[in-house]
């Protein structure tokens, strides 16, 4: 079954909860278009771990040789990146 935007969103938010610097942050309330690095939600290392975690949880690999991972630093862009990599 092809993954849906909402399905990936749920996985991304769950992963974000475990990686964001402020554990008290309500990640569900985050603007999906805010840059997680610039907003200080994640630092560089945390962001890469978060992206890795999302790949493991979804079973979908992002080709980091081809994809500019820094361009996937919003929730929305990451969801779309995962959907794109899944072939949808």
């Amino acid at each position: 079954m092809q993954p849906s935007y909402d399905g990936i969103r749920s996985i991304v938010l769950d992963a974000l909860k475990t990686h964001c610097l402020d554990r008290a942050l309500d990640v569900g309330a985050l603007d999906a278009h805010v840059d997680l690095l610039q907003a200080g939600v994640l630092d560089s290392f945390g962001f890469l771990d978060f992206v890795e975690d999302v790949q493991q949880r979804t079973g979908i690999s992002l080709d980091l040789e081809q994809v500019d991972v820094g361009e996937l630093a919003t929730i929305d862009k990451l969801i779309r990146g995962v959907l794109c990599a899944s072939g949808k």
């Binding site: 690095l37 560089s44 290392f45 945390g46 890469l48 771990d49 040789e65 991972v69 820094g70």
Partner: protein
Amino acid sequence: MLINLPQCAEAYAAMFGALMAGGIYAPNNLSAPAIRQRGVHEAFEPDAVVAAEGTLDVLGIGPTDRRWVSLSDLPAPLPRRVWAADDLAYVMFTSGSTGAPKGVMVAREGLAHFIDWALLAMDVRRTDRWSQHPNLGFDLSVLDIYGALCGGATLVPLSRQGDRLTPAAAIRRHKLTIWNSVPSVVDLMLRARQVTAQNLETLRLLTFCGEPLLPAHLEAIFAARPDVVVHNTYGPTEATVSCTLVRLTEANYRDACRASVALGDPIPGMDVWLAGGESDNEGEVMICGPQVARGYWRDPQRTAAAFGEAQRAGRIMPTYRTGDRAARNGRHLFFLERVDRQVKILGHRVELGEIDAALRACGAAACTVLWQGELHAFVEGTPSAVLADLRAALAARLPTYAIPAHFHSIAALPRNLNDKADAGALIAQLVAGAGGVTGAQPEYQAG
């Protein structure tokens, strides 16, 4: 002149322009919190600010205080060509322990000495294409900017977020031949599985400074590219970027590896020695020579505490006590820890860095802090269930009193603006959590 620009040609031109016109400049770190950027502006009190239009509100410069000047309207002052050794080149603001920015005054003599050395040591060629990764507010950028432009090479500013985070694509795209950054960037590339022969194909030299380079970094680099040269350098901002060098190749690097990679030998013209230790082979790193800064901007008290003078080659030269502890092992000098990370537990002298090194040897990236008389180790990316095993492994390496009472699993260690593990932020987490640590997984407490 305050330079309020990101890495770009205009910023580099402003630096050279300020120096040629006889001025001094201070670069501001635009990634820093607004309060820090404002603090630098207030402390430096510049006559002019070279800025992108959108960056001035952060500095607290209101619209009525601004008088925009077009570059084409400015008079062209005749470049001065004669300088006194002590004339300043730039003031680099670093974070001070009190929270107020501390301006390091680097003299033209120091900058010229450093760049003369860099051009020779790095054998800079006109065909080189050199990365410019460090933020302009971090003095490692001085090596890129002056090294490349004074050597006739091409300077490539990396300002895109993706290029800064995982630079492999930028290295390939720009066919870079020289890479310069803090070693943490290699960690980021390793996590993204980017340290490959293909990604590093165009590089001939990688140079690192700013934090300990680790054997694992070198193993990965030389596994990918056995034919590159790696320079590990050491030096505080107060000694103009760096003042030691060890040149590493696939053939010799193992000799320079202990818990971290050797700092190297003093560069020609600079003296580095160890003081205050139990022998000449261990102690606080002291530096003397033309690259030592002329003190802290408008802060005679802190200047007197850290800077001094010594007779050298028939001339009085400035000296600087670094607050870094190092030890000589064989022919190499190795960084141990900051002097201020030495703590006492039950009367025993304990180096927090030694605990971190032992954890590193057990395969864990960690930062240990002392809080309320007890040691807390924050371990990166390790499940809580594994922390008990880590403690057991540590018992084989450290005396009992040096084993942290508390272990915390943390997704990623907080890092400061220069990507170094931020012990202050970890203590702040303990203070904020006071019982339940915010930002960390449930802790494992040693029994």
